[in-house]
């Protein structure tokens, strides 16, 4: 089985293998409603004790297997060149997504040290790469250019002229200081699409303030809501959440702008403040304050909308989430508890009655869940179709058969480090699934290639630029 082989240079070979597989007519219909994934948990388990699918198996065993040989390059964004000159994640993650679906991504970095994300998080055996860098700088080539030097700026403009998309996240005004404002860039390339991500956006009184996700969560109203009522607000799960969310909005902006460019030939600029990306996701919080003066407070593990709707500790000291958003679901929970009378109209059958007796209903749930192991609670709830889920730690996730079957964890070879498990591509497309060609590149690994081949700069000149630390 060639598709089981882990190849050292995963990506390009993977694609080749995929096509071969397609040629042999080995297809799985994505149509049958009850067709389970080809890479189902059982198969994985019997094939290998390792819990993850490899890049190879993801590409070859994805449930969407209808492949054609008439169109060898099936990547929807092939032919699109993206320059990512940002640092860390807010914005650069948009480049990662574009790269996963076929765009060529050039990471333009400072010649000394490069993107600070190379030093952020857990170190590896490679001095220029933490684990966060390896995972999130996937599918890139690294090109070093010093934008603080005039010659660096000229070089950068030449690169911009040959690119489709530029992504940056410097503090507003920084690129302008370097002579790389939108007006200049647009002159160099009128069809350029530029994504600018910053803490507060390109306009407004706070635009020059430095902003990270942590700051944006607070400013955008998310942090205020995390934690128990009246107690210390906690981090909303993960530190860089806002960076990812801003990037998702940014990617949408880029794809919209590319579409507009197809029709008109004209590029444009997309301006995302991390705080506003976070704020946009807060359902009715704005209209409810606007209309009724309602200020939402921290809700701990619960929700103002429904009861029981929260996190409950099991006998074996683990946690489950239970979400009974409707009366029907509470009825099922009462059945799972073997106390169907709880769902009677006289007791707690009605959501309004449950909300009024919130503490009592929660207490009943706490006691029931606390009397059983997590596996037991899960089994009984699932049997009655109660919405339930374990609060998975990362260790739980690595053991989980569904993550495995969906290929959510993928093992990719990183130059100089070995195999690294990273989260796979989201979302999953049936005809043109994304792929990971490589993990975070060594600093400057494509500088020569890009300058020589794309910009047609002579080898001597490249040498000179290097000696002067411009690249």
């Amino acid at each position: 089985m060639t598709k089981r082989t882990r190849s050292a240079s995963a990506a390009s070979q993977t694609i080749a293998e995929t096509e071969q597989t397609g040629g042999s007519g080995e297809t799985t219909s994505p149509l049958a409603p009850d067709s389970t994934s080809v890479g189902s948990g059982d198969q994985e388990a019997s094939a290998t004790p390792v819990a993850f699918s490899t890049v190879d198996t993801f590409a070859a065993e994805a449930p969407f297997a209808e492949r054609s040989s008439e169109n060898p390059d099936r990547m929807p964004l092939s032919g699109i060149r993206v320059i990512d000159v940002g640092n860390f994640l807010a914005g650069p993650y948009a480049a990662s997504i574009l790269g996963e679906f076929g765009a060529e991504v050039l990471k333009v970095e400072h010649p000394i040290g490069g993107d600070p994300m190379r030093r952020f998080g857990t170190p590896t055996t490679r001095h220029d790469a933490t684990l966060a860098w390896l995972s999130e700088a996937r599918n890139r080539k690294s090109v070093t250019i010093d934008l603080r030097q005039r010659e660096g700026v000229e070089l950068f403009l030449k690169l911009v002229a040959k690119s489709d998309v530029l992504i940056e996240n410097f503090r507003p005004g920084t690129m302008e200081e370097w002579g790389l404002g939108w007006d200049v860039l647009r002159e160099a390339n009128p069809s350029l699409v530029m994504l600018r991500v910053s803490g507060y956006g390109q306009t407004g009184p706070y635009r020059r303030r430095s902003g990270f996700a942590h700051i944006a969560h607070a400013f955008g109203g998310l942090s205020y809501l995390s934690g128990f009522p009246g107690e210390t607000p906690v981090l909303p799960g993960t530190a860089p959440l806002g960076d990812y969310i801003a990037s998702l909005f940014g990617a949408i902006g880029i794809l919209l702008a590319l579409r507009h460019r197809e029709k008109t030939g004209r590029g444009q600029m997309i301006d995302v403040g991390i705080y506003e990306a976070v704020f946009r996701l807060l359902d009715e919080i704005a209209p409810a304050y606007g209309l009724f003066g309602k200020i939402r407070e921290r809700e701990g593990a619960g929700s103002f909308i429904a009861v029981p709707h929260g996190h409950f500790r099991t006998k074996d000291d683990k946690w489950v989430a239970i979400a009974c958003t409707t009366d029907k679901m509470f009825e099922r929970l009462a059945e799972a508890m073997e106390r169907p009378e709880l769902a009677s109209p006289e007791l707690y059958g009605d959501q309004r009655k449950r909300l009024a007796a919130r503490d009592t209903v929660n207490q009943i749930t706490i006691e029931w869940v606390g009397s059983l192991t997590r596996d037991e609670v899960m089994r009984r709830c699932l049997e009655k179709e109660v919405p339930v889920g374990p609060l998975n730690s990362i260790a739980d996730i690595f053991e989980d058969e569904h993550f495995r079957a969906r290929g959510n964890l993928v093992c990719v070879e990183a130059e100089g480090v070995g195999e690294v498990v990273v989260p796979n591509v989201v979302p999953t497309l049936s005809e043109t699934p994304g792929r990971i060609t490589n993990l975070g590149p060594p600093l400057g690994n494509a500088t020569y290639e890009v300058l020589r081949e794309l910009l047609n700069i002579s080898a001597d000149e490249i040498k000179r630029l290097r000696s002067r630390k411009i690249i």
Binding site: P30, S35, G41, F52, F64, I97, P116, T122, A132, P205, Y206, R209, I215, H217, A218, F219, G221, S223, S226, G227, F228, P233, V234, L235, P236, G237, L241, L248, G250, L255, A257, R259, H260, Q268, M269, E276, L281, L282, D283, E284, A286, A288, Y289, G290, A301, R313, A321, M329, P387, I394, A395, I397, F398, R406, C411, V421, P423, P427, T428, L429
Partner: protein
């Protein structure tokens, strides 16, 4: 106005949103903001459950969430479980570019409206399918909501005080919105591919995957070093210190984050204690991380000696990354939100009332999106759509209505 409309990037794209609540519908909302014609296909009795999610209003009891998030959509009632409803749906699909749905896997198939049928009717169709666990895998049939997805995807485990009860990661609908964003990216990529090849496809999005994907190094750190990340409470001091929430004298909260030594030096200056950033004390991130409790204590003491306004004023004066933990009242009073027009007041049709909703994100310079209308009344556009798109007569429409097909 018309010139502006046809200039929007998705002008001419028709979307059917046959989904419910937030996740898949939010994708349609985004597409609608940038020019797509979005038909909200709803069950004739009660319609989308989002109409009852949250705080009810004076307009037929439709909630605020509905009015805000069903913006720009036209409501068409259609009972897909009725054979005639399914037939009309197929006729609509023939004239549609994008379908958003979030039924449990197998439901559309049961009604004879699976991907095989729909893609045969319209080979250019792009279909976004959102479920809790995705269309494949052993859990695909389990009921899934955002809260469950937060738990399964690993983010709830990380929210809360160390060893304490895990809390909601800020908002109970986070995974819904994030999946809408991922779904929208999938749809736009598929549209791009369709331009080149003429072929549609479907996108298989799972709520839990959206939050799981945004987990920085959680996965590789466990894969390589078996490191299990635990809840951090208000301070995340694995990589940076200080990086957390601090209470001020007036009982409010600020976020402060010093990801680098340079930023800590600015904070030390703001605190009037520049010596703290010397190399012999806490100038080095590694030293600060080793003594995170002591460093947090110093910052906590300083913050609690001043009002929130004073802390922020001093932090901003030295360009220290800091911000208030805004509640929604703070946000309504904030000049950055106003300058960026993040809040926008829109009239609720024919009621004389206005509600304030979050404005469009992201901001595009040439083709900014627009909000034409708030969430429609149930079935408000059934007649016009059936007439304009399918050429139905008044008689046919009243007959369908009598039989509760629409």
């Amino acid at each position: 106005m018309d010139g502006h409309e046809s200039n929007l990037p998705l002008a001419g794209i028709r979307v059917i949103d046959a989904a419910t609540v937030i996740a898949a519908p939010f994708c349609a909302t985004l597409l609608g903001e940038f020019g797509a014609d979005v038909l909200k296909v709803e069950h004739p009795l009660g319609g989308d459950a989002l109409r009852r999610f949250g705080t009810p209003t004076f307009r037929d009891g439709d909630t605020l969430t509905w009015l805000s998030e069903a913006r720009n959509k036209r409501s068409v009632t259609l009972n897909l479980q009725h054979p005639d409803g399914a037939r009309i749906f197929k006729e609509l699909i023939a004239k549609t570019d994008v379908l958003c749905e979030n039924f449990r896997p197998g439901t559309l198939e049961k009604w004879g409206l699976g991907w095989d049928v729909l893609s045969q009717i319209n080979p250019r169709l792009i279909m976004l399918r959102v479920t809790g666990y995705g269309q494949t895998g052993p859990y695909k049939d389990r009921p899934g909501f955002a809260r469950i997805a937060h738990a399964v995807g690993g983010i709830s485990y990380l929210a809360g005080m160390p060893k304490g009860t895990p809390v909601t990661p800020g908002s109970t609908t986070l995974a819904d919105y994030m999946t809408g964003l991922y779904g929208c990216i999938g749809v736009l990529i598929a549209l791009h591919y369709r331009e080149k090849t003429g072929r549609g496809q479907y996108i298989d999005a799972a709520l839990y995957e959206s939050v799981f994907r945004c987990s920085d190094e959680l996965v590789p750190a466990y894969g390589m070093y078996k490191k299990v990340r635990e809840r951090h409470g208000p301070h995340h001091n694995d990589f940076a210190c200080p990086h957390g929430h601090f209470q001020t004298k007036d009982g409010k909260w600020v976020a402060i984050s010093c990801a680098t030594d340079k930023l800590f030096a600015r904070l030390a200056k703001a605190m009037g204690r520049p010596e703290l950033a010397s190399s012999s004390i806490y100038g080095d991130q590694k030293v600060r991380l080793q003594h995170a409790n002591d460093v947090n204590e110093i910052v906590r003491d300083w913050c609690s000696s001043l009002t929130r306004a004073e802390v922020l004023e001093r932090c901003y004066a030295t360009a220290t990354p800091a911000a208030p933990l805004n509640d929604i009242a703070d946000i309504f009073g904030d000049r950055q939100f106003h300058a960026r027009r993040n809040l926008v007041a829109i009239d609720v049709d024919n009621t004389g009332e206005t509600i304030i909703v979050p404005n469009i994100v992201p901001k595009l310079s040439e083709t900014p999106g627009r909000i034409k209308s708030l969430g429609p009344r149930l079935g408000e556009h059934t007649e016009e759509v059936l007439k304009d798109l399918l050429g139905m007569s008044d008689a046919e429409i009243s007959e369908l209505r009598a039989r509760r097909v629409i």
